[in-house]
Subunit: 132 residues, 6 copies
Amino acid sequence: MFEVTVSDHMMVAHSLRGAVFGPARALHGATYVVEASFAREQLDADAIVLDIGAALAALRAVLADLTYRNLDEVESLAGLNTTTEVLCREIADRLAARVHDGSLGVGAGDLVRIRVTLRENPTAWASYERAP
Amino acid sequence: MFEVTVSDHMMVAHSLRGAVFGPARALHGATYVVEASFAREQLDADAIVLDIGAALAALRAVLADLTYRNLDEVESLAGLNTTTEVLCREIADRLAARVHDGSLGVGAGDLVRIRVTLRENPTAWASYERAP
Amino acid sequence: MFEVTVSDHMMVAHSLRGAVFGPARALHGATYVVEASFAREQLDADAIVLDIGAALAALRAVLADLTYRNLDEVESLAGLNTTTEVLCREIADRLAARVHDGSLGVGAGDLVRIRVTLRENPTAWASYERAP
Amino acid sequence: MFEVTVSDHMMVAHSLRGAVFGPARALHGATYVVEASFAREQLDADAIVLDIGAALAALRAVLADLTYRNLDEVESLAGLNTTTEVLCREIADRLAARVHDGSLGVGAGDLVRIRVTLRENPTAWASYERAP
Amino acid sequence: MFEVTVSDHMMVAHSLRGAVFGPARALHGATYVVEASFAREQLDADAIVLDIGAALAALRAVLADLTYRNLDEVESLAGLNTTTEVLCREIADRLAARVHDGSLGVGAGDLVRIRVTLRENPTAWASYERAP
Amino acid sequence: MFEVTVSDHMMVAHSLRGAVFGPARALHGATYVVEASFAREQLDADAIVLDIGAALAALRAVLADLTYRNLDEVESLAGLNTTTEVLCREIADRLAARVHDGSLGVGAGDLVRIRVTLRENPTAWASYERAP
């Protein structure tokens, strides 16, 4: 199996709901370094999983809706507790939608896995993987 | 599937037994950067895999028994050849025990995998994964 | 000349004032990886610049006043435009104060430079250096 | 399951064939940081997956055939579009051959997976995994 | 003193002239991770050294002339032995020209140093610093 | 001014003498990632500070005397408290000796600074710089 990963980052404010989060219940922020991985069993006719440039552009487009914002006020995230795990899933789902609408130039049927990792600081990160 | 990883480090001396280890049979040492990953299929009611703070505290507690020591003299490791692989398994097993005793605040039944990676230098690292 | 550096991080929200900041004028956030460096010409009787443990504790204490907060509402920063450069200087000044009050276990007269670097994302960081 | 990874790098020129590659169709170059991973279910009698020194030597030998060269003119790659994905597979296949010829000191039957990752720049990398 | 650094990368082919370069006399390539630093004694009215966005854009513009190319055929480098050191100086000089033409939004008289670092692989890098 | 840096690592055991070291007074160990920097004002006829290959070889030779050992028993370090700072100075001095004996292929008179950095874990490192 082959896998290609592209990376970018976003800088956001947010707060978390739930006693477990302790001080992170207050409004604070994070730089999330975001890695998006796309896996497939066989390479295409150009000998790639997908176009790295297209993948970077798709990731940048997804993050552009979130970066430099207070996630507590982002309408498309309303009702979500924006934990690192939830943000991984949200970004993976948005990338999957872009696979399905053809903007990554690879068919959803060709991919076997999409995985998104968010690194929030040097000691903690999370990832989410799903079918494309 | 979701996965959360936390990281810490330990600084130890040790020696290895076996001709294959060459110069590493002599007493030497390592800084091990340790990454502990916990995976589950569904998030809990707080939208997390587990409390990152609790995971960091559990990892710190496990490493506190080993760091700043000569592993050749650590009683709980007696009889083990403390290769990077064995240390991965040892730390994973100790973290699993802490999952089972409830100190990570997540049920063993909720997790699907525990993985521990030890980075011993910029050119070599090892990992071990097990059921929780 | 010798220099010792210790590192920690903080996760904050803030907004910036000034047309130059563009989207960063909105409330957003950052993980700042913080490096604090202390330089001296000669080592002390223990053959160190200063106690790394004491330096890490001092840095942690300085960051504890800022992390998991919205810097726009931190009283001790009132009136400041909390750019990365300003935060570098603020943290360096607070560490210098701790040198002067003796909590780092090294005399201000023994040090020749304090430098603080804040890494805000993989493509941008800033630093500030001052006399102790 | 246990996995050991070793890392090295190579510095090559090459060009890519296909409209999708845009500017990368021109002759350009890359430093590829190469990670080779070997997994097995049980450790051997020395409590290792394989000898890290042997793995580093095997990886160095494989890369020695490619580094400081223009891949467009490397005979053993003739006819291949040397994308990052293809290079991952090529290096994995060459390492697998070295497992089979015994030069890594571990039997192919003992391993369950070989994986090779090539990091081409801070924002993009690829990997390929295969049976040994 | 304050210093701001921005980072980007370029992927180039080239060859080096001189017996000292051994295998690097052949056409090969590199990913250069490029860091550009700008220092000044006092912050401006916005409390910054310079606009990080403008600095990133200037660096990207400078690298756009070089990336995805064979440096042996880049006219503006004709006659140069494109060692890492020379590329550091070339990029620093081009950035200095952009400071002088006003495109970084900071006066050359305000800056006290420009420094460029090129990381060519995990074990080697070079830097060049000059007056602005 | 130009500066070239090369990097390697060593894995050692040691203990420290002095109340300030707390738990590090016990025999423990470290992986030290070692960076050696060489600065000069003008490049040589090959447009380099020095031969990177020669610098890497010199650093490897210096570290070969220390790695995989218990520093408490290394004769050439007898009487030294092997703090990170002291090891920086020791390695810098040994590299300077190699500059003086000609094995780096650069004259001591051509260099203006030698600097050695040792990274002992992700949160602490030290450096020492001297005239060549």
